[in-house]
């Protein structure tokens, strides 16, 4: 019989958890039981007590977006007075600052702009690569789908051209919950789940590593949340191209979805469950941007082995009125205070520096 105890025993013994069993844990397992199991699995995957992070900056090349997702507080219509498309001068300055602060990558994402030609994006990549030595983690699947429509070419061709122009890896944004019933409500104009998964599959096949995300805490049911995790796990079985999984909780302020903000309690449950289900993904990131430094530190005992990035700049979550900050120094301090070892990594999880206490 599937009881919490029997499920946990089975996972301890190395068995893969089923969707049904994951849902039982979601509903019934005590928080510290989930934490203990997730922490056990984290150490099985990463036997040392290292916690990594990357120093980077989020650069949003435009906030103009035709997708109009209900959960977004960042996008603006073309004619809006706050609408912008980044200039090369501003872009260069941001990258220069990032490098000066010890940054190794930029996360470059933007809205689905109705008029920019595909060449704009290729040009942006080529320009950065020509002038800077920096890793470009950019263009989530909805952006890639949008570009392929604009260019009238296949996903494969689109990704290949982006890669040739300088794209190094793809962020896992736009996944939200990979269940079309949910997507059609919260982001009806954004790519469906098949497209999201197809683009990630092609990226992995072409040799671009990607991350995967989940935005939860809006209208999804626990069963849909588990389905999301299963779909990520299934694709990873095929491609092994996901470097990391990042669950983060929906921030409802200034958006069109009026729900109560997910509590720290629920965040930590979902984080632990992600580690338990995603037995084939190496890195699980804590989201300090949505949870703050205290819960992010705590997340390191709930299955996370990575604190994501220092995010010298972040605009999308900030647009919902959530303004947590975490400097590199504070990150190192929090890791050490948890009795763990701190290391700066690059986008592909190679260690660049260790930080001693």
């Amino acid at each position: 019989m599937n009881t919490v105890e029997s499920i946990i025993d089975a996972v301890y013994q190395g068995q893969r958890i089923s969707a049904d069993a994951a849902e039982i844990l979601y509903h019934n397992a005590p928080l510290l039981t989930l934490a203990s199991l997730a922490d056990h699995l984290r150490y099985k995957k990463h036997p040392n007590s290292m916690i990594t992070f990357v120093v980077d900056r989020n650069i949003n090349y435009t906030n103009i977006c035709i997708s109009k997702c209900k959960f977004c507080a960042f996008c603006r219509p073309v004619t809006h007075e706050e609408a912008y498309v980044i200039s090369k001068d501003v872009l260069d300055q941001k990258i220069q600052e990032t490098l000066e602060m010890g940054g190794t990558q930029i996360l470059m994402q933007g809205g689905l702009h109705p008029d920019l030609p595909f060449s704009f994006y290729l040009d942006l990549l080529a320009h950065i690569k020509k002038n800077f030595s920096i890793h470009i983690h950019g263009f989530s699947p909805p952006e890639i789908e949008h570009m392929s429509k604009i260019a009238g070419i296949t996903f494969q061709e689109t990704i290949q051209q982006l890669k040739n122009a300088g794209l190094d890896s793809i962020p896992g944004g736009g996944a939200e919950i990979l269940v079309d019933q949910v997507r059609s409500h919260i982001s009806p104009n954004k790519c469906d789940r098949k497209t999201w998964l197809a683009i990630m599959k092609i990226a992995h096949e072409i040799g671009l590593p990607t991350s995967a995300t989940m935005m939860f805490g809006h209208i999804e049911t626990p069963s849909q949340l588990v389905t999301h995790l299963m779909r990520i796990r299934d694709l990873q079985d095929q491609t092994n191209g996901f470097t990391a999984f990042i669950p983060w909780s929906f921030q409802p302020d200034n958006t069109h979805i009026h729900v109560r903000k997910v509590t720290a309690w629920q965040y930590l449950r979902v984080l632990a469950l992600s580690r338990i289900v995603l037995d084939n993904i190496s890195n699980i990131q804590a989201s300090w941007v949505t949870q703050g430094d205290k819960i992010a530190q705590l997340a390191l005992s709930f299955g996370a082995n990575d604190l994501g990035s220092t995010m010298i700049e972040e605009n999308v979550v900030a647009a919902t009125g959530v303004h947590f900050r975490l400097s590199k120094e504070d990150m190192i301090r929090l890791i050490h205070a948890a009795g763990l070892k701190a290391a700066q990594r690059n986008c592909t999880y190679d260690i660049l520096h260790w930080f001693s206490k």
Binding site: L268, K294, I295, L298, D330, A338, G339
Partner: protein, 365 residues
């Protein structure tokens, strides 16, 4: 309890608490030094659930800080002012009356009133504060005046401690808050709060309070210069007093906030230290009924999590917190009753609204 401990040393603690064996100093030190936070939490959760099951208490309360003028000037305080300093204030009895009348909340069950050690206010002022509150809110418990203030009153009134406490009680005092002991260590006393009463006097005042039939809380300010050993010794001193008097109701760990203090170089406490302190307090203070997660200092998110690390009480609505917010607290200044209920319920606990003395409040809706 949890299935397995990452740190195998914790099995010895598990054996002790399952057989109701009191934890020793070295047990406490080991609990602080282990990196197995989840294991420590599970041990504390076991005791918490044994005592209180799934219940988490909270109170509809209001804080009143009658003055920030204080002659003690402890290094960790951002609230205190000298008499002529900018921002110094002292409420008149009428002002306190106005605050109460303005906030005539239907559900209010507790007034928490503390203030600085004012150099000139007469004892009558403090008695008048109590009488005024009692007059306007006869149905509300008054939890007021730390041991430090009570010691000061005894000096200015030239009354003995028992007579001072009797006078306060007669004027309306129901309960005494736990502040002012900081960490009961001579070294820390000397370095951070030399003008404040010594730990021996703090204990004497608390024992006198308990002897007069009043209960009190106890606290510990952590996250500054204290060592693990000093924290454990603090717990043991409180536990010893409690063995004598059984007058303490709740223990409240207070996370130090350094902004605008003379110790501003000290980083904020980490979630690990916050939760460990909560859990170890639950485990060491085996003769205390309640361990509080003070959301003002922990932040609302961590306070919610603390419910499974030994805490069974989330304090209350507070309405307007001043002391920790002078030191840079990022939490709200007050919470609604509904927000507190949600924090508790969404973590699977059962909210129990209480009064200052931990008696459940009759549900009136």
């Amino acid at each position: 309890m949890i299935l397995s401990f990452k740190d195998k040393q914790l099995y010895s603690i598990k054996d002790k608490i399952e057989s109701n064996t009191r934890l020793e100093r070295q047990d406490g030190i080991m609990l602080y030094n282990t990196h197995d936070l989840i294991g420590v939490g599970a041990l504390a959760d076991y005791i918490r659930r044994k005592r209180h099951g799934n219940k988490t208490y909270f109170v509809y309360n209001q804080h009143i800080n009658y003055t920030n003028i204080c002659k003690n000037r402890c290094l960790f305080c951002a609230f205190a002012r000298n008499r002529n300093e900018k921002g110094a204030y002292m409420y008149s009895v009428d002002q306190v009356r106005d605050i109460l009348i303005k906030n005539k909340h239907n559900h209010l069950k507790e007034i928490h009133m503390v203030g600085g050690i004012h150099p000139n206010a007469p004892f009558e002022y403090y008695l008048d504060l109590l009488k005024t509150i009692r007059d306007i809110r006869p149905d509300v418990h008054i939890k007021a005046f730390t041991a430090v203030e009570i010691d000061h009153f005894s000096t200015i009134s030239k009354l003995s401690l028992p007579d001072t406490i009797k006078a306060l009680k007669q004027a309306g005092l129901d309960m005494v808050p736990g502040g002012g002991s900081e960490v009961m260590s001579d070294r820390i006393h000397q370095e951070l709060f030399p003008k404040k009463i010594h730990r021996s006097r703090w204990a004497e005042v608390m024992k006198a309070v308990h002897a007069e039939g009043l209960t009190s809380n106890a606290t510990m300010l952590y996250g500054h210069i204290e060592t693990v050993e000093e924290c454990i010794d603090h717990f043991i001193q409180l536990r010893d007093i409690q063995d004598d008097t059984n007058g303490f109701t709740a223990f409240i760990p207070l996370a130090f906030h350094s902004e605008n203090t003379k110790l501003s170089h000290i980083s904020p406490t980490s979630a690990y230290l916050d939760l460990k302190t909560t859990a170890i307090a639950r485990l060491m203070l085996d003769n205390f009924d309640h361990i509080k997660a003070y959301w003002v200092m922990l932040g609302e998110k961590l306070a919610q999590i603390a419910q499974t690390f030994g805490a069974d009480d989330l304090d209350g609505t507070i309405i307007e917190e001043k002391i920790t917010h002078s030191a840079g607290a990022k939490s709200s200044k007050g919470l609604t009753r509904e927000q507190l209920v949600y924090m508790i319920r969404s973590a699977g606990f059962e909210p129990v609204e209480r009064d200052a003395l931990y008696q459940p409040v009759e549900k009136n809706e």
